[in-house]
Symmetry: C2
């Protein structure tokens, strides 16, 4: 008895951004592990790989050739999960389905199932686009290896893409999957942008909860949270003039972090020049620290959440998509609120932020699996966010001294 | 244009059990895959492994010795994620934390953070227990290899455990992680049961939505759904007198299935003798079919969802937990509704069911990764549930002929 720290108590923590809980079971990493091992990441060894879909000058699987680009390079995914016209091009049709579940229609607008089951079998067409963002021409130099100026070019590309795509699409998801453990299908340093006409589940939850907090307290949820974390200190990993990186109180992945501007900003495109420079330096520190943790390239998925874009304005649309994608029809109802438009004041309740979700737990080859109990009941973690923050701070410190 | 089938349209589907959406992007499996490969599963080759923590007669990492059991064998996890007393035993404390984030207390009941941040830093102690269920003594014979009578013994063990643990705990999660791809840390055929005093997120969502449907329509959500699926047929994999297996309309994992009784049953313990026999045969067919799909042991997480148990009754508690775990304190408020108790009529809105979440997509070594976009926006699948059902039906058929 006597002192009881959170580090010694199994507990649940609440994520105020999503409304979900996480089960925290400190000390469970002591159990023996005879399970699967991740293949240790093999860093790319060549500057240009003639077989890589993303290297400059190469022919892609989709049949197009990359230009001899030297900075960032953005193109529409050859196998996109979302298209401006949701109907798959005829060229890709294998065979007409034997028993079409949808009524035939002369019009490409599909008829969705209705009738007795309509309440339980709900679906809606999804329109959007998917782009690939090559961070640079070098096959072997990721964000972590780049100079602040090169990272700044990536930040500017993210912001410009978000600005452009938000004119047409309600949600623009900028993200990177790094490493085979996170499903990356090509080691060439790149991120992706998927944009769509619906507000997906995760940002919809964050949108609702930030609005709610603002309605209740008159302040921004994440600005209030940043203040609490800055005062407490124990979960702060990096703090600079413009940016803060914490292991959030409700972190789910062992070394998850949340990166946010210290002043109100609702989206990437609204970042000032100074904020972008600060971010470029900060990303270098964070990623170098992550790689130092297990002395190996650290796999993760990361991505940006900013205020949802406006519904497409009525009237003539902006120019065509990259490549030859046809223009989307607006299928959005008038009941959804408009989000922001170019020139609009920032959404006071929405704070831009990035999530980093790295799966590793104990070593370059032992990850946390969010499986059985986690899929069926509550997600779960095996060390406290405070313990993870201690370890991350320890590897960030020398980097900070070197890089700033 | 002309015929437009759902198989040719990118769309989102709604999961009425959880309230979440899934993005369906048919045809995306055609993209080239240069990403990670799962290690092909290596089936256990020995009947008894002297180094296995679960084989009969062996000494476990926690220091206890397994009996020479011959049927199923249940014990409390040596490294449990949940304990009846949430405070970690002193023996496991490494060192007192340098700067305890929780106020000191003479009482082991922790003081949780309060003050300005209390609205955003919410947590609560979590009490419960974790058990391991060895399906049988043989290291090399899983559920899929067992006779219906042996599977029946596992079903009876699940039901008896659920009945017993529900007397003390609000939620009892019976599950199995099969294969290293699903984080199983030991190949000996076994499942787990985690029980806890809170209703976790996933069953809480299912509870709320089943209630809502019942309040609105006077009928059970999953019974209504079973009727729709039986009539439609296209997503049905197996149908027997007492049980139905479908690829649910809103399936997230490529070959996900939902298994449910065809008549109202709210929990495992309420299954009749006939229903248990039917389930034992059905599980054999389903698992044999899964393994036939890629001609390899099929990894998955599976688990049961039934009506939440009652809050612990006031007054004297049932006997101590397995082993020497101390008895839990009731920390449950009076505002939560009581769930079912032994002898109560079944909850009309809750239908027992099992989820099977298998990750493989294209082969024994290529899985679907729910990563970047999926973690940050909407979960996503690359083939329609109907296409997955076609493929599963094709491999189930010969099995059905052999085994029934
Ligand atoms: O209990 P095991 O098999 O050692 O561990 C596995 O299942 C648990 C419950 O789903 C998870 O928390 C672990 O991440 C996973 O590796
Ligand atoms: O687009 P990639 O890198 O080929 O694929 C990866 O990222 C996608 C977006 O998160 C996921 O849908 C895929 O499962 C994953 O393997």
């Amino acid at each position: 008895a006597g002192f009881v720290a959170m580090d010694d108590i199994t507990h649940r923590r609440f994520n105020p951004l999503t409304g979900r809980w996480v089960l925290v079971s400190p000390g469970r990493t002591r159990r023996p592990w005879h399970g699967g091992q991740e293949p240790p990441p093999v860093p790319a060894a060549v500057a240009h790989d003639p077989l890589c879909d993303l290297c400059p000058g190469n022919l892609r699987a989709g049949g197009e050739r990359n230009p001899s680009y030297s900075g960032t390079y953005v193109f529409t995914n050859d196998f996109p999960a979302l298209r401006p016209d949701p109907v798959r091009p005829a060229a890709l049709l294998v065979a007409p389905p034997a028993d079409p579940p949808v009524a035939p229609s002369a019009d490409p607008a599909p008829v969705w199932p209705a009738g007795p089951g309509s309440g339980l079998l709900r679906s809606e067409p999804a329109r959007g686009t998917c782009r690939v963002v090559c961070f640079g021409p070098r096959h072997d130099r990721g964000l972590v290896d780049m100079t602040p100026a090169e990272v700044r070019a990536v930040v500017d590309t993210w912001a410009a893409q978000e600005e452009e795509l938000s004119r047409t699409w309600r949600w623009v998801q900028v993200f990177e999957n790094r490493g085979t453990a996170m499903g990356a299908s090509n080691p060439h340093p790149h991120g992706q942008i998927w944009a769509c006409d619906a507000l997906p589940d995760e940002p919809a939850a964050e949108d609702a909860r930030q609005r709610e907090h603002f309605a209740r307290s008159g302040s921004s949820l994440l600005m209030d949270y940043a203040e609490i974390e800055t005062a407490a200190g124990e979960r702060v990993i990096l703090a600079e003039e413009h940016w803060l990186v914490v292991v959030p109180f409700w972190a789910l992945w062992p070394f998850e972090t949340l990166l946010l501007p210290r002043h109100p900003v609702d989206r990437l495109a609204a970042l000032s020049d100074d904020q972008r420079d600060g971010l470029s330096r900060l990303l270098g520190r964070l990623l170098t620290g992550y790689d130092a943790l297990f002395d190996h390239p650290f796999p993760f998925s990361m991505g940006w959440h900013g205020a949802p874009g406006p519904h497409p304005a009525p009237g003539p649309r902006p120019g065509p998509e990259l490549g030859s994608e046809p223009e989307p029809e607006s299928g959005l109802g008038p009941d959804l609120d408009p989000g922001w438009g170019p020139g609009d004041p920032p959404a006071a309740f929405w704070q831009l932020h990035a999530h980093f979700y790295p799966p590793l737990l104990r070593s370059p080859t032992i990850r946390k699996h969010q499986v059985g109990y986690e899929m069926l009941a509550d997600v779960q973690r095996d060390l406290t966010p405070e313990a993870a923050a201690d370890r991350l701070r320890a590897v960030m410190a020398p980097v900070a001294a070197n890089r700033t």
